[in-house]
Homo-oligomer: 372 residues x 2
């Protein structure tokens, strides 16, 4: 970071980005000394920074009101609206970071696979990728040209945040995006994806290389537009045997992370990864995002020095009463043992049934309990 | 075990069981020196013993033929048929152990919760357990009186096996059975179960105590009827944060395992447990059953000395070609590094889409590759 902690940013300075690529007036960046960015760098903070995956979502009444006007895809493609829900979550919860509102499959839409979002069912791919010919057919996509609304939403959200909190950009990890392209929809067992990986190793590698290149361009575009940090959601890697991850996924994730603008923190996240932690570390990331099914302290010891961790309260705990939530918050903080570099979060996205007041209370508890 | 290795069993000797409780003529036991039982005890074996969870299932043509005549529940309640499918899997695959054909919810049927098996949908509980009053209402069940067909199936399977391979009895773990009783059906997120655990700790404890007592009686009944080993399928514990497992589940599992007839190997299994291994070890078991989402060698090092491991090939790999299967078998065996006490298995049950010839080939590969 090229601005000193607690100093206002220099006009027009864009960390890690290419100013020539961005349009519009320069917008205020979050201070490099903000607790979220300090924690990303492994520096001590006065309290533990906290945000929630899917913090702009159905559990928030204001979000539901926006969704009455706009479908998910229309919301993502309307930069003003995407920026609005991005910021409203920050206002509502008092979290220490915003995350741009988007869907991990947006950059996959120009691949021509027939992506649709079916209300109540999630993403559906009408022409799933099932063999080498399908992979060959996938075009090379320039996300700056094909999904410009994402970068515009990042710029608008940055403007609206006015430097209050950092803004996180994000993308799906190559395995996770591939799993949707191959299965054609959300999956539980990922049998088609695994069969593809085992039976068509060359086509699998080609698919992962295409997705890795797309992801690099997509994330660097968000950084150029003003994202202070990025998160790679390789959400479904936890379905894999470690050896399959090591051979079929790790090299591609490593390439993605190594290809990002230097100096920008990268949060590398997956669920069900208690058996993959060392390999995720090997793939890269400034911070490793943990789900709730692992003890945070134990996971951090396995990850070693020089890396932060994000997590890891069970999202289901927000359905309990405040006393139960506080107990859970304390347990996570105790597990982190005050080691610098911890960003508090849920272990996965906020559940739709979550009372929003519980989410807000949890954020306050994290600040209170970590200040002690 | 009170028979010397490689010696024929003494007539009427029943390891850990109460002979007064069993009926019918004594049946031949598997030799205590059988490679499966030796591996359970951590002794070296000439090749790695192997069996498959759900080895008697829909992927086998002969099983499907039986199911054309009988529903799942009728099959479980017809000891001759249950014993038949138990043995046919051994004949078909050449595995080193049989596992009695049953369903983990059988002992829950007499609890009066309205258990039904809906074809294509799995178990459905018509009157799920949702609060303290529902827990109070659960009767104390004597499985010997209420599900006698299970013990009779064990006896008949033992007779039919004629000592060729050991017979494994099994039960669902208390958390896993509780999750069905509370959710009312198979679940992915277990939100009702977790909410119950967090909001009603006293009723949760009472429920787990009732299920633990039932499980002890049920497993000891199978041991008395002739099971050479038992497996506790706490299949869904992997949804829990380690701290929740430690407080809400571990004490009850420990009680179950400690309450079983001494000297009988106990395989303690769950899926998604890469974050729970140390706690599972604390709860007990002669052998810890691993799913495929953890490196077997790393898991075993974490578990420490004095315990065996079972696993852990990804069941999805049986959908690949034979070369891919052999590569996976080798990787698991290499990870075990020849350490005595490894029982080869899949990381979870055989998938219905598995070509049975692939399962058979896998068993042969395990024997071949581990003999080298």
């Amino acid at each position: 970071m090229d601005t000193a902690p607690d100093q206002p940013p220099k006009r027009g300075v864009r960390v890690g980005g290419d100013p020539a690529r961005s349009s519009g007036p320069p917008v205020p960046r979050a201070r490099a000394g903000h607790i979220f960015l300090r924690a990303c760098r492994g520096e001590p903070t006065e309290s533990t920074p906290v945000w929630l995956m899917r913090q702009a979502g159905r559990y928030l009444p204001e979000y539901r009101a926006v969704r009455e006007r706009l479908s998910l895809l229309d919301l993502c493609k309307t930069p003003e609206a995407a920026a609005e829900v991005t910021v409203l979550a920050v206002d509502r919860l008092g979290v220490d970071a915003a995350i741009i509102f988007a869907d991990i499959l947006l950059p996959a839409e120009p691949l021509g696979v027939g992506l649709e979002f079916v209300e109540g069912e999630g993403p559906v791919i009408r022409r799933p990728v099932r063999g080498p010919a399908d992979v060959d057919r996938l075009p090379v996509v320039d996300p700056l040209a094909r999904v410009p609304f994402v970068f515009e939403a990042v710029r608008l959200a940055r403007q609206a945040l006015a430097g209050r909190v950092p803004l996180i950009g994000f993308a799906g990890g190559p395995f996770t995006v591939a799993s949707y392209l191959i299965e054609g929809h959300a999956s539980q067992d990922f049998l088609q994806t695994k069969a593809f990986m085992h039976r068509e190793p060359a086509a699998w590698r080609a698919l992962m290389e295409k997705l890795a290149a797309l992801t690099i361009a997509y994330l660097n575009g968000q950084i150029a537009a003003g994202a202070d940090a990025v998160q790679l959601f390789d959400s479904w890697i936890g379905c894999l045997a470690p050896e399959d991850y090591r051979r079929g996924v790790l090299p591609h994730v490593r390439r993605v992370i190594a290809g990002l603008a230097p100096g920008v923190p990268v949060i590398h996240f997956g669920t069900g990864t208690a058996g993959l932690l060392e390999l995720m570390r090997e793939a890269g990331g400034t911070v490793i995002g943990l789900d709730w099914r692992v003890d945070l302290g134990q996971a951090w010891r396995r990850l070693g020095a020089g890396v932060g961790v994000q997590g890891n309260l069970d999202p289901a705990l927000l359905l309990a009463d405040p006393a139960g939530i506080r107990q859970g918050v304390r347990a996570v903080l105790q597990s982190a043992a005050g080691r610098p570099g911890h960003i508090f979060n849920l272990g996965h996205g906020v559940l739709p049934a979550t009372p929003w007041a519980h989410a807000k209370a949890m954020v306050e508890m994290v600040h209170e309990e970590s200040r002690r």
